[in-house]
């Protein structure tokens, strides 16, 4: 950021005073622009964020006054079953959701990265699930997954699977059902990101590879994949972070059940904090969620940097 240009003809003394006056004026003007948004941002985002950090070291419920308890919330959390179950479910969800969405998004982007009349229609159709309301998506998929006579199980039986899974009614298959739904919903979004990445690859690279006699597969591995590295980095970060934050899809589709088989961290925060009014304890879980998200981002950023070097 360069500083304001000052007319060189102005004498130094005058110019420094004028400069200070100008700076004060700019500060005032700048703040009037920012203020309407900043007031709301400060009160309803920034302060709650800072409060969440502080609260995680306090004992505070809807019935008691806040009290500083140090790490007691964390000790309780690490000793609690539900925390570990929620953490495990969240991690399993991420392990399923991230690679599947990424692979399908890339595949779709490569199929749709050609100049054909009307290809925009296909792209738009595949993108649409991403902006469809989650409730509608969850409701439809719940019915598609219906254990008896649901279309998915009818299809599985038709291809020879005699005992198709019970999906959302089975504690083993509920999480896979949620993962399938979320992959379907999100892949259009990441396809758009990959399309942008593919279109930035210069055509000469492919032509040169072809002249050298590279097969389509070799071109994919040696031209497409390396050229897409920045896009892939971005996609992995976004996908991992969004996987750890998964919340509404779970609440609407399975509400954590059957049993606790699909309870995730966000939901645990909600249940403990808003449901049961344990403000301090739920904030400790929040802090863990935040630290996971932060670690993932920083770690992937570091890996990316090392690769570039």
């Amino acid at each position: 950021m360069s500083t304001e240009t000052i007319p060189s003809t102005v004498a130094p003394a005058v110019h420094s005073r004028g400069n200070r006056k100008q700076a004060r004026r700019n500060t005032l003007i700048g703040w009037t622009f920012i203020l309407p948004n900043f007031l709301g941002f400060l009160a309803f985002t920034l302060i709650p964020v800072l409060a969440a950090f502080a609260l995680s070291f306090m004992e505070w419920t809807s019935f008691t006054a806040p009290k500083w308890v140090g790490l007691a919330n964390f000790q309780r959390m690490f000793a609690s079953d539900s925390f570990w179950i929620a953490l495990r479910n969240t991690v399993v969800y991420a392990i399923g959701h991230v690679p599947l969405t990424m692979a399908l998004a890339l595949l779709l982007a490569m199929l749709l990265n050609r100049k054909l009349k009307g290809i925009g229609f296909f792209r738009v159709a595949i993108f649409f699930p991403y902006i469809t309301s989650l409730v509608a998506v969850a409701v439809v998929w719940n019915m598609l997954f219906s254990p008896d006579n649901g279309p998915i199980n009818q299809f599985l039986q038709a291809v020879g699977i005699a005992n198709p899974p019970g999906w959302t009614s089975s504690s083993d298959w509920a999480l896979p059902a949620v993962i399938i739904t979320s992959v379907w919903r999100d892949m259009g979004y990441y396809m758009v990101l990959y399309l942008a990445g593919l279109q930035a690859i210069p055509a000469e690279l492919y032509e040169a590879a072809e002249v050298d006699g590279a097969s389509a597969w070799q071109r994919f591995w040696n031209v497409t994949i390396p050229s897409l590295r920045p896009t892939t980095f971005f996609v992995v970060v976004m996908l991992t972070v969004s996987s750890f934050k998964v919340f509404d899809l779970i609440v609407v589709m399975t509400n954590g059940g059957p049993g606790r088989s699909t309870t995730v961290l966000s939901q645990l925060i909600y249940q403990e904090g808003i449901g049961e009014g344990k403000f301090g304890y739920s904030s400790a879980i929040s802090l863990v969620l935040f630290l996971i998200v932060l670690t993932v981002t920083v770690l992937q950023f570091k890996i990316q940097q090392r690769r570039e070097r």
Partner: protein
């Protein structure tokens, strides 16, 4: 259809400069037209095109099955929804589902509530977001960049991590179970400021400098120079905010307890919970909740895809 073709061009040339983009796309169109006259090679290209179209059509239909099933089921009797084998086309179209739903649940009220929230939040977000973005990108003053870092920093914090303090705050303000809670929480998001600022940074400072020399105040520059130039970004932000608010489930779920305040999403979810065997009516409600989004998306798809691709984020 023409809309979609245009969108394709917009996406394809997004990396090029705005004005050059349009020219390039229509240039490609012209070239394709002249190619059509060369017949033998063209013939071969056409066959491969047809194969690709067929493959893509199969793929898209497969991916659209949930939507097809949703619409088809919404036009059936309840006992016709989960049949063996699947009926893709209802034997008898039960259009009455679409007239009955309005009396079965207060659907009109839900739609009005969703619309009210989405419009208010979108207007506030676009207005305050673009004002703040101007402050962050075109006015220089001490502390500005630190402040912007605070904005960016909170984008990295998952919303779920601070929903409890927000809730405590709203409870103390006595705003739970009111639209005001949602408006206050969602209208001043850092996301809008970030998206608009990214766009304003691409507008050359010389334009503002020239307007300053012409005697326009900073507010005048914002209103008469920057706003008209940033229509695409404003459209992106408005559409994304509207759709996010319309689709939001967790916000209304946490804050709105009385039925008369419920949004479409909450109303639909509660309908599913109460009458889980009314398969057809549930699908009818789902279709109705999606139609406004479909309409908005078809009108403004280019801004959606651009907004999402440039900011790489959803609200």
């Amino acid at each position: 259809m023409t809309n979609m073709a245009e969108d394709l061009k917009a996406l394809e040339t997004r990396n090029a400069a705005h004005s050059a983009g349009d020219g390039q796309a229509s240039g490609a169109e012209d070239r394709r037209r002249t190619e059509r006259r060369r017949s033998p090679r063209e013939q071969k290209k056409r066959t491969t095109d047809l194969v690709i179209y067929a493959a893509l059509a199969v793929l898209v239909v497969a991916l659209m099955v949930p939507f097809i099933w949703m619409v088809s089921s919404s036009l059936k009797e309840n006992n016709q929804v989960l049949t063996v084998p699947i009926q893709w086309i209802p034997t008898e179209f039960v259009w009455s589902n679409y007239t009955d739903i309005w009396t079965r649940i207060p659907m009109m009220g839900y739609l009005q509530n969703s619309l009210y929230l989405a419009v208010i939040i979108t207007c506030l977000q676009v207005l305050t977001g673009s004002l703040a973005a101007y402050g962050f990108s075109k006015v220089r003053f001490p502390g500005r960049d630190v402040l912007f870092l605070a904005y960016i920093g909170t984008i990295a914090v998952p919303w779920q991590a601070y929903m409890v303090p927000q809730y405590i705050m709203m409870q103390n303000l006595g705003l739970t179970n009111s639209f005001n809670a949602l408006i206050l929480l969602q209208a001043f998001g850092a996301f809008g400021v970030f998206l608009m600022r990214q766009y304003y940074m691409t507008i050359p400072d010389e334009l503002c400098e020239a307007a300053r020399i012409d005697g326009l105040s900073e507010y005048g520059i914002w209103a008469r120079v920057i706003l008209p130039l940033s229509k695409p970004a404003l459209a992106s932000l408005a559409l994304l905010t509207f759709v996010n608010t319309w689709n939001d489930y967790m916000g209304p779920f946490i804050y709105l307890t009385s039925n008369r305040l419920w949004t479409v999403q909450l109303g639909l979810r509660s309908f599913v919970g109460q009458f889980d065997a009314e398969y057809a009516m549930i699908m009818t409600g789902s279709v109705i909740s999606v139609i406004p989004i479909l309409a908005i998306f078809l009108i403004g798809q280019r801004y959606f895809i651009q907004g999402i691709a440039t900011s790489g984020m959803k609200g």
